[in-house]
C-alpha cells in the first residue's frame, strides 16, 4: 500500500491535472476556507429537488471534491436501471472522469471507464468505497456514518468527508440557474 503522503500527492496531482477544467491547479487565491481550501457554499434554497425538464430518469448533482491541496467541481449523474445504478462524473466542460455501475445489494461500485491517471488500483479502491457511500447517502439519506467518515446531510446537500485521506465530497442538486 502506498504511503499516505504519496497517495494523497498522486490523488491531488490527478485532480489538479485532469478535472478543472482540463488540467489542474494549485490554490493561490480563494475564498471561504482555511489555509486556502475552497469550500463550496450551496446557496440553493432548501426544498424538493426537481429533475431537469424533459429528463425523468437521469438524476444530476453538482459535485465538489476537495483535498488539502486542491478543489475541483463537476457533475455527478446517475440513472436507475433494473438492478443497478449507472453513473458518470464529468466536469463543466463535458470532459469525463469516470463511468461506473453501482450494485445496491452488494453496495459495491464498479468502474467501467476511468480516466488514465485515476486508473491505479489503490485510487480505484478508495474512490469506489467513497462513491459507494455517497450513492447510499444520496438514495437513503437517513443512514448513519460509517467508521472513518463524517457524513452531513441537509435538505438537499450531502457532504462526505473521508477522515483518513482528508477528502471531501459535496453533492448538491443541479438546478437551472438561468433566472438567478
Amino acid at each position: 500500500m502506498q504511503s499516505y503522503s504519496a497517495f494523497l500527492s498522486r490523488l491531488s496531482l490527478l485532480i489538479l491535472f485532469l478535472f478543472s477544467p482540463f488540467s489542474g491547479y494549485e490554490i493561490i487565491a480563494g475564498e471561504n476556507g482555511e489555509n486556502g481550501a475552497i469550500v463550496n457554499v450551496d446557496e440553493t434554497p432548501p426544498g424538493e429537488y426537481e429533475l431537469p425538464a424533459g429528463d425523468s430518469e437521469v438524476r444530476r448533482w453538482n459535485i465538489n471534491l476537495s483535498t488539502p491541496k486542491a478543489a475541483v467541481s463537476g457533475f455527478f449523474l446517475i440513472r436507475d436501471e433494473n438492478d443497478s445504478i449507472a453513473g458518470s462524473i464529468i466536469n463543466e466542460f463535458g470532459i469525463s472522469l469516470a463511468d461506473f455501475r453501482f450494485n445496491p445489494v452488494s453496495g459495491k461500485v464498479k468502474f467501467i471507464n476511468l480516466t488514465g491517471f485515476l486508473n491505479k488500483w489503490y485510487l480505484k479502491k478508495l474512490l469506489a468505497k467513497d462513491l459507494s457511500l455517497a450513492l447510499k447517502r444520496l438514495t437513503t439519506p437517513s443512514l448513519s456514518s460509517p467508521k472513518g467518515y463524517d457524513v452531513f446531510v441537509s435538505s438537499d446537500t450531502v457532504v462526505i468527508h473521508n477522515l483518513k485521506y482528508d477528502i471531501t465530497y459535496q453533492f448538491s442538486p443541479l438546478s437551472d440557474e438561468t433566472d438567478k
Binding site: F17, L18, S20, P21, F22, S23, G24, Y25, E26, I27, I28, A29, G30, E31, N32, I38, V39, N40, V41, D42, E43, P52, D55, E57, V58, R60, N62, A71, S73, F75, L77, I78, R79, A86, G87, S88, I90, E92, F93, G94, I95, S96, D99, I112, N113, T115, G116, F117, L174, S175, D176, E177, T178, K180
Partner: protein
C-alpha cells in the same frame, strides 16, 4: 495505400460523425494545401471573436445528453472568456499567464507560469475554439474533409497527456467565412461533446473588462 487511407477517413467520418452531411469527401493534394492555407489565413486575421454556444455532452453510459449554453469571447493573442449561463453558471477567463475560474460561490486564480501543463492545455483550448489549432502540427495529426458547406478538420492528439483527455477533436469551418462554427470532442469511453457556435461576430471591439482577472 494512400487510397485505402482516404477511404478509411471517409468511412470514419460517414459512420461516426453525426455533425456532418452525407456527401463528405477527403481534401487531399493541392486542394488540401490551399484549404489549410485559406483557413490559416482566416484564423490569423481573427483579432477578436464573440459568440454564443450550445454544448451537448453525449453520455454513452447513461444513454443521455447534457445540454449547456453560454457565451464566448476571444481577443488575440491570449485572451479568452468562456462562460456557461445555463443550466449552471461557470466562468473561465484566460488572460496572458493567468486563469480565473468562478463557480457559484467560489473563485480561483491560477498562474500558468507555475503550471506548464495548465498553460499548454489553455493554449490548445484557445487555439481550438478560434481555429488556430489547424496550424499547430506539433500537438495533433490533422486531416481534412469537406461537404457542400463545411470543411471538417480532424485532429488526433500526439502527446500522451492530451490523449488521456480525448481521442480526437473535429473542427467544422464554414466554407464561406472560413470561421469555425462547430467543435466535436470524441472521448475514449465513447462519450462525445458537440459545441455549436452561433451569433458569431468577429473582429469587433471588445470591452477589456470581459477578460479582467480580480
Amino acid at each position: 495505400m494512400k487510397h485505402i487511407f482516404y477511404i478509411l477517413i471517409i468511412t470514419i467520418f460517414s459512420v461516426c460523425n453525426p455533425i456532418i452531411g452525407v456527401a463528405v469527401t477527403p481534401v487531399i493534394g493541392s486542394e488540401l494545401t490551399n484549404t489549410v492555407t485559406a483557413l490559416n489565413k482566416a484564423s490569423a486575421q481573427l483579432k477578436s471573436m464573440e459568440c454564443e454556444f450550445v454544448q451537448t455532452k453525449n453520455l454513452k453510459m447513461l444513454k443521455d445528453k447534457m445540454v449547456s449554453k453560454g457565451k464566448m469571447y476571444y481577443a488575440a493573442p491570449d485572451k479568452l472568456r468562456w462562460e456557461y449561463t445555463n443550466p449552471y453558471q461557470y466562468l473561465f477567463i484566460f488572460n496572458g499567464s493567468k486563469v480565473f475560474i468562478k463557480n457559484k460561490g467560489t473563485q480561483n486564480v491560477i498562474d500558468t507560469k507555475s503550471n506548464k501543463i495548465f498553460k499548454e492545455v489553455a493554449r490548445i483550448m484557445m487555439q481550438t475554439v478560434t481555429g488556430k489549432a489547424l496550424s499547430d502540427s506539433n500537438d495533433f495529426v490533422i486531416s481534412v474533409s469537406k461537404d457542400a458547406t463545411t470543411y471538417f478538420v480532424s485532429m488526433t492528439p500526439k502527446k500522451r497527456d492530451l490523449k488521456q483527455l480525448f481521442q480526437s477533436v473535429t473542427l467544422s469551418f464554414n466554407r464561406n467565412s472560413k470561421l469555425i462554427d462547430c467543435i466535436r470532442i470524441n472521448e475514449k469511453n465513447g462519450d462525445y461533446t458537440v459545441i455549436k457556435l452561433t451569433n458569431l461576430k468577429s473582429n469587433r471591439s471588445l470591452d477589456a473588462k470581459l477578460f479582467s482577472i480580480p
